[in-house]
């Protein structure tokens, strides 16, 4: 088994997902290496988000295994998977709308905190100390994504681009070692996308492995170490961006026209 | 000793009672499940429509002296109108609100309606005269009143009519489409507002019919709707929220459980049967026994 190889963070083996009679993912196998940025691409309905949902425990796969650093993730709850360091964002903007940006990040810091219910009720000094540290940490994370000035604003009042940054901040607060980003720049304008790419580079510098699902080919080709192309639930290509760009099957199936469009 | 095997007679009588009771339970359940399935509204005021039907029957027959058979459709019609009015006034502006919000509004409607009834009619129980002979219909060792037989026949007819509306009419087709997928139905040109009003009116009419039928059998009191609501919930949960055949069968199952439970276990826990059933079903098979598709939350 390839799981034993130390540089393989996440190993997906023979993953199959079906909804009713519909097959979303068919015996898909791939791995994510430590420290890399791996992108999953493919036309709509290719099974990218389904694979994400299976890896992070939101749906139960019909077959195959998912292992993270040798730990089997199948059957674990999303919260348990997050506790192992595998954290995701969502395709549709997903933040805590009724809270301020700062509180959003504070909510995300759940795993970073250690308070026990009884300690909280009796207000032990350790709790107050930790609260202070958490607030500090939340400010740091907000600054990291460039939202330090927005902390006091309600999430619902943030513009779209900043909401997407806030999502990433929430995910970062959960201290991921493997971060799964589901179309993080969809709907962003080119300058927002450019600054997001910079943030991605800084995330990478924190030693966080990234698995990315994205339609924006400029971004995918710009940041990825490796790209996997899916079509109709199957992997049709796997390799460095340059190889994918020139892969005949990818171009034929999907990439060609879309990439040209993205160039415009 | 009356019969040769009295226990057999008792069982037969229980079964007969349960059958008769089940018809009206099903009527209540179908109305509630329709409203939930199509509108996603947990109608806490359902029992009040039931009480309303009974009070309208009382109004026509006992106060205004109308003919019993004429009063019945009139009471149901008034129930339909009240239901339509409630939908237009209370629910229309909450379209798209979450389920808890509509639930709170319906609880408010329930409390208001019940107490307005209490203010109008006072808490004293009313009884309604019927044109049926007072001696019962005797079938061998068991017997039942003509009134209950009439209730059972009309209830079955109304259930049949509801199935026909849902399956045979244009309105029913649009309702089914809305039930499956509201957005797609809207895209296909279904007038969602009209469907919602029609659904709530139909569901309310069925509840009012159950009340108008049972009012003369029992007595009419303002609080009669509470138990009716809770039983309707049990029936609907049993059959799966949104399933009409489920509600039909659920109505009969609940009636049998209550009747046999009271007859052979303990009559004190008769009304607990429904709730125990709800809890057990939801813990074992949360979608109900007859749910058509997975629908949680």
């Amino acid at each position: 088994m390839s799981t034993s190889q130390p540089d393989r963070e996440l190993v997906v083996d023979g993953l199959s997902i079906r909804f009713g009679g519909l097959t979303a993912v068919e015996s898909m196998s791939f791995h994510v290496a430590k420290g890399e940025i791996l992108s999953l691409i493919g036309p709509n309905g290719a099974g990218k988000t389904s694979a994400f949902n299976a890896i992070t425990g939101y749906i139960e796969p019909n077959g195959g295994t998912i292992a993270y650093r040798g730990i089997r993730l199948n059957g674990l709850k999303p919260s348990q998977i997050a506790a192992h360091g595998v954290v995701r964002t969502f395709q549709k903007t997903s933040v805590f709308m009724g809270q301020t940006a700062f509180d959003n990040v504070l909510l995300g810091l759940h795993l970073a905190s250690r308070q026990r219910p009884l300690a909280i009720i009796f207000a032990l000094p350790s709790v107050a100390r930790e609260e202070k540290e958490l607030a500090e940490e939340a400010r740091r994370i907000l600054a990291f994504v460039g939202l330090e000035a927005r902390g006091a604003l309600l999430a619902s009042s943030l513009p779209y681009g900043e909401l997407r940054l806030l999502e990433v901040a929430i995910a970062l607060a959960a201290k991921p070692r493997l971060l799964l980003l589901d179309e993080p720049v969809s709907g962003m304008n080119p300058s927002e996308t450019a600054s997001f790419m910079q943030i991605l580079a800084r995330i990478r510098a924190l030693d966080i492995t990234v698995l990315l699902v994205e339609h924006d080919m400029k971004m995918v080709m710009g940041v990825s170490d490796r790209v996997i192309c899916l079509n109709q639930g199957r992997i049709i290509a796997d390799g460095p961006p340059a190889a994918i760009q020139s892969d005949r099957e990818v171009i034929r199936a999907y990439l060609g026209e879309r990439y040209t469009r993205a160039q415009d | 000793m009356r019969g040769k095997i009295p226990n057999m007679d008792q069982l037969l009588q229980h079964i007969l009672n349960a059958l008769i009771l089940g018809g009206t339970y099903a009527l209540l359940g179908i109305g509630l499940t329709l409203i939930f399935g199509i509108m996603r509204v947990v109608n806490f005021a359902h029992g009040e429509l039931y009480a309303f039907g009974a009070y309208m029957m009382y109004l026509w027959v006992m106060v205004l002296g109308a003919n019993f058979y004429l009063a019945l459709p009139l009471a149901v019609l008034l129930g339909v109108m009240l239901g339509a009015a409630m939908e237009l006034v209370l629910l229309r502006r909450l379209r798209g609100a979450d389920i808890d919000t509509t639930m709170l509004v319906m609880i408010g409607a329930w409390i208001t309606l019940q107490n307005v009834e209490q203010m109008t009619w006072s808490g004293v129980a009313k009884s309604i005269n019927t044109p049926f002979p007072s001696s019962p219909l005797v079938l061998g060792s068991v017997s039942l009143s003509w009134n209950r037989l009439f209730v059972f026949v009309v209830a079955l007819a109304l259930i049949g009519a509801t199935y026909a509306v849902i399956n045979r009419t244009k309105l029913g087709k649009a309702m089914r489409a809305t039930f499956q997928d509201r957005d797609t139905a809207a895209l296909m040109g279904v007038d969602i507002n009209w469907i919602h009003t029609a659904t709530f009116a139909l569901g309310s009419g069925l509840a009012a019919a159950a009340g108008a039928l049972l009012g003369p059998v029992f007595v009419v009191v303002p609080t009669m709707g509470d138990l009716a609501s809770l039983k309707a919930f049990a029936i609907v949960i049993l059959g799966g929220l949104g399933s009409i055949p489920g509600a039909t069968i659920g109505g009969f199952i609940l009636a049998f459980m209550e009747e046999l439970g009271a007859g052979y276990v303990s009559s004190g826990y008769r009304d607990a049967m429904g709730f125990l059933l709800i809890i057990v079903i939801l813990l074992v098979k949360p979608t109900g026994l007859f749910a058509q598709k997975e629908r949680i939350g």
Binding site: - | S127, E258, S267, G268
Partner: protein
């Protein structure tokens, strides 16, 4: 209008505390807590109407101690917690020296700790639970019979009615269960076989399951204890299911007139234990008082079916007023002491109290009369 609302608001905020200190009053207040809404609304209203008639009569005759009496009526909504609230309000805010209430045993039991707390006597007019007079509350004066007394009064009838086997159907509360218990124990002593003992929710309307079981038990008599609304339905449904056992209702909240009206010919043949027989006032101990009451009741156009409940209010108020007269002042402790000695000619009979409960803390209990009547061809007859 404005000032009234304002004043009430102040009262609620507690600012009327100064105004509330009793100045020279020109009336003697008597607190009445009855269920005017909720499950027992009908009966509570009748008792209140009977009490109001007594108030009018007493004031017409010059009141008591040279003052008029004034009933302060509070609705306890058939709910024990509300009953406690009404007692609080009557005693603390209205400063009544004596109360009448609270219809059902549960409601009375709820109020009782308040009587002890504030040392105010209460005349109990309807409740039947033995607990009320045996729990050591010296502020309780009960004129209604306990289930046990009712059962004892019934004993001679067991033979004459020829009861061999009896079933019970009782509403699931102190009233119903207490009666089932006392009557079944009494019947067992009389060597009567006990069939099935069924209960029903106080709000239930469908008794088909219970009746099917009762029918199968093959008893000759069915004892039913509940309020008149459920009795009506039971009589009708028993007929539908051809239950042939003789039905006897206990507890005195059975209003035969209302049964005749609402159950029609299903009521025929049923017997009822009542504490007042307005159909033949000559049968009671003080027929003149009974006739006066019936006449006044009809004059007010109150529901004829309410007479058998309404008399309790009359008897209660007359007993209280007698107590105030004997006390010579409208103060709780004096009235409590004086009530022990009163002898009142009431509608039910002569009212006087005997001691019940633990020594030193006895409650007062009257020994009332009990009558059995029968409905025959739509008429109430003596049995």
């Amino acid at each position: 209008m404005m000032s009234r609302t304002f004043k009430t608001a102040l009262a609620v905020l507690g600012a009327t505390l100064l105004a509330a200190t009793a100045s020279a009053q020109d009336t003697i207040k008597i607190g009445v807590t009855q269920p005017l809404t909720g499950a027992f609304a009908a009966s509570g209203t009748y008792v209140m109407q009977g009490a109001k008639i007594a108030e009018e009569q007493i004031n017409k005759a010059g009141g008591v101690l040279g003052k008029k009496i004034q009933l302060i009526v509070e609705d306890n909504k058939s709910n024990p917690t509300e009953a406690v609230s009404t007692a609080e309000k009557l005693i603390v805010r209205e400063k009544v020296p004596v109360m009448l209430g609270a219809w059902s045993s549960t409601l009375t039991l709820a109020v009782m700790p308040k009587l002890e707390e504030y040392k105010v006597p209460m005349l109990v007019e309807t409740s039947s639970s033995g607990k009320i007079t045996t729990s050591g509350n010296p502020y309780v004066f009960r004129i209604s019979p306990t289930s046990e007394m009712e059962a004892r009064a019934f004993t001679p009838l067991v033979k004459s009615l020829g009861i061999k086997k009896a079933d019970f159907l009782a509403t699931n509360n102190d009233f119903g269960l207490g009666a089932s218990k006392e009557f079944s124990e009494m019947l067992k002593r009389e060597n009567v076989q006990i069939g099935t003992m069924e209960v029903m929710d106080p709000k239930a309307t469908d008794f088909s399951a219970q009746l099917a079981k009762i029918k199968a038990s093959g008893s000759d008599t069915l004892f039913v204890t509940t309020a008149v609304e459920q009795i009506t339905l039971i009589l009708k449904q028993a007929k539908d299911q051809q239950v042939t056992a003789r039905i006897i209702t206990t507890g005195g909240s059975n209003s035969p007139d209302q049964l005749i009206q609402q159950a029609g010919d299903a009521a025929n043949g049923s017997s009822h234990l009542v504490f007042f027989t307005p159909w033949f006032p000559e049968a009671v101990k003080n027929p003149d008082i009974a006739r006066t009451f019936v006449a006044l009741w009809n004059e007010k156009k109150h529901h004829v079916g309410g007479l058998t409940e309404g008399f309790r209010g009359w008897d209660g108020i007359y007993t209280i007023v007698e107590g105030i007269k004997a006390a010579g002042k409208a103060e709780p402790e004096a009235i409590q002491k004086a009530l022990w000695g009163v002898k009142v000619k009431g509608i039910n009979g002569d009212i006087a109290f005997i001691k019940q409960g633990p020594a030193g803390r006895e409650s007062a209990q009257n020994v009332p009369s009990v009558y059995l009547v029968k409905i025959d061809s739509g008429k109430v007859i003596r049995q």
